[in-house]
Symmetry: C2
Subunit: 142 residues, 2 copies
């Protein structure tokens, strides 16, 4: 989660909403990335999507079955859907996101009968730092 | 929708679940693609994601505000989330997907208070052909 928070800080420095993610297998970091839809001109370039795509490309597989995803903020519906499609084993996230989250809020993707894979979910790790980064970012933009 | 169905057929020929999508602005096709997670080794490479990413890259923008998306099947939660993030104006889809859909089933992404943009949605266009393609594909795999 320390690496994910670093990625979130780097995203903030680049003018992006500060969210960072890391994809891990067997204790090894396969991919790390920050949120970058503005910089990449890609509305799907959330941190989670970037590490899933990078890790799948690196491993040459469509499914990341033995992999765990660490992310500083509760994933949105898009990212939760991607996590399910990728068969990610465990999801660890920091701050909850009542306004845009799709795990414990809103779409609650993993709780739906249409969801074909549910990762183990661990919330609240590094929550304080992750939330402070976001607050600082949005306060600075007002 | 004719073009989207062509893309779905091409996906089936390539051994992918037959879903196709087209992204249109001002009557002009900006991007067309079929479902390709296996071929591309990318769990996020659904037809809708591919046309959204391609059109955004082509236009050099993060938001596709004047764009309409045509897809042969009801989008899943991931794709519905991406459609919302991309600010797609209108969504036209063919067959409903009770098992994996995220628009009128399951996550019902656009109906959530956590959804920050709702496209106009038109369902059932080219439904018969889209559903027949899927049935034929899955029957052939049994």
């Amino acid at each position: 989660m320390r690496l994910a928070l670093e990625e979130a800080r780097a995203a903030a420095d680049a003018g992006e909403v500060p969210v960072g993610a890391v994809l891990v297998r067997d204790g090894q970091v396969l991919a790390r990335a920050g949120n970058a839809p503005r910089r990449l001109r890609d509305p799907t370039a959330h941190a989670e999507m970037r590490v899933i795509r990078e890790a799948a490309a690196k491993l040459g597989v469509e499914r990341l079955e033995e992999c765990d995803l660490w992310v500083t903020l509760e994933p949105c519906a898009m990212c939760a859907g991607a996590i399910a499609h990728a068969r990610v084993r465990r999801l660890y996230y920091g701050a909850a996101d009542p306004k845009g989250g799709g795990v414990e809020h809103g779409a609650r993707v993993f709780a739906q009968p249409t969801c074909h894979h549910r990762p183990e979910v661990y919330a609240g790790l590094g929550e304080r730092e992750a939330a402070e980064l976001l607050r600082g970012f949005f306060a600075g933009r007002r």
